[in-house]
Symmetry: C2
Subunit: 186 residues, 2 copies
């Protein structure tokens, strides 16, 4: 839906305070009445928007994962690179603004917390699948979680300035470390 | 200064939109005129506040680091735990709100970007020192950077809900992996 995509783009570019229903409707070229018919409150509109775009991204990531190297350190590198790329794009930026807005907007909190839990779980599930990680082995589950936390931290570091040069060295090194944790003899 | 500490506490609890100069002055028990004499704009007040409190924290961290285990895996664990603790406290929460506010407030951007670069550099320097990391060895610098990015990601994950149970497992595993990278034979 055009209005949901406009809401996420707006959040990413202008933050929560700059993202009113009026601004989003103008951007999407829909009437305020039409938007409010589906999403009665500003909170519902933006939470639904991030949920919708996150679903689209998860589908796109699954699609992209099909063309990654099949196995070995090259695959681990490609998966880490993909996970980090997801966290440095506009969707993460929009989600970041929605998360921080919950501090001032009590009404946003329950919906956003539930959404974050859902996306977090799905991201972990995909990471395990793409990495072929055996979570029954000691330390593997925590290392996969740490990889996603690191990706979130890199997303944050990219908010204020272009961090891509520093980031590429970290991704390469972390992928090498992770690959060893995943495949070493117990 | 009381007004700077009040500004950081206010940012952490109410976010940027809920942190006006008036609210901070009331909290600190100072007059608006007195605050504006030192910090003519809202942007200057909050950027100076995060800078001031960050300096206090860096001092406190240096102090705490003196009582950590002297060497070995226990020290690596204690250092990672300390770095993560810094990123899950109210100062990080305040900084997060200041960083995301720069998206909507152009005037905040240059000061906050400069501050973030300075704090980031100092945090890296301290991490290297505390870990006794030899950055001339391949991969060590990037792994230390990744540790700080992971700490930032854990701080973010802690914004919406108490993440401490999941976090402690991640810190333990990350410390074990980091210790190996720091001390393995080249």
């Amino acid at each position: 839906m055009r209005v949901l995509e406009a809401a996420v783009a707006c959040l990413a570019e202008h933050g929560w305070s700059g993202s009113t229903v009026t601004v989003v409707c103008a951007r999407a070229g829909v009437s305020r009445g039409a938007a409010q018919h589906h999403f009665p409150t500003r909170e519902e509109l933006f939470t639904a928007a991030v949920a919708h775009v996150a679903e689209q991204w998860l589908t796109a990531v699954r699609e992209r994962a099909r063309s990654l190297p099949r196995e070995g350190p090259d695959r681990t590198y490609a998966v880490v690179d993909l996970l980090v790329a997801v966290h440095t794009g506009p969707l993460f930026r929009a989600a970041l603004h929605l998360w921080t807005a919950t501090t001032a907007e009590e009404g946003l909190r329950p919906g956003v917390a539930a959404l974050e839990t859902r996306i977090g779980r799905e991201a972990h599930r995909l990471a395990v699948e793409f990495l072929g990680a055996d979570e029954s082995r000691p330390g593997v589950r925590e290392t996969v979680q740490a990889t996603l936390d690191m990706a979130r931290g890199l997303g944050l570091a990219n908010l204020l300035s272009d961090d891509s040069a520093r980031r590429s060295g970290i991704v390469r090194q972390w992928a090498a470390v992770l690959d060893r944790v995943l495949h070493e003899d117990p």
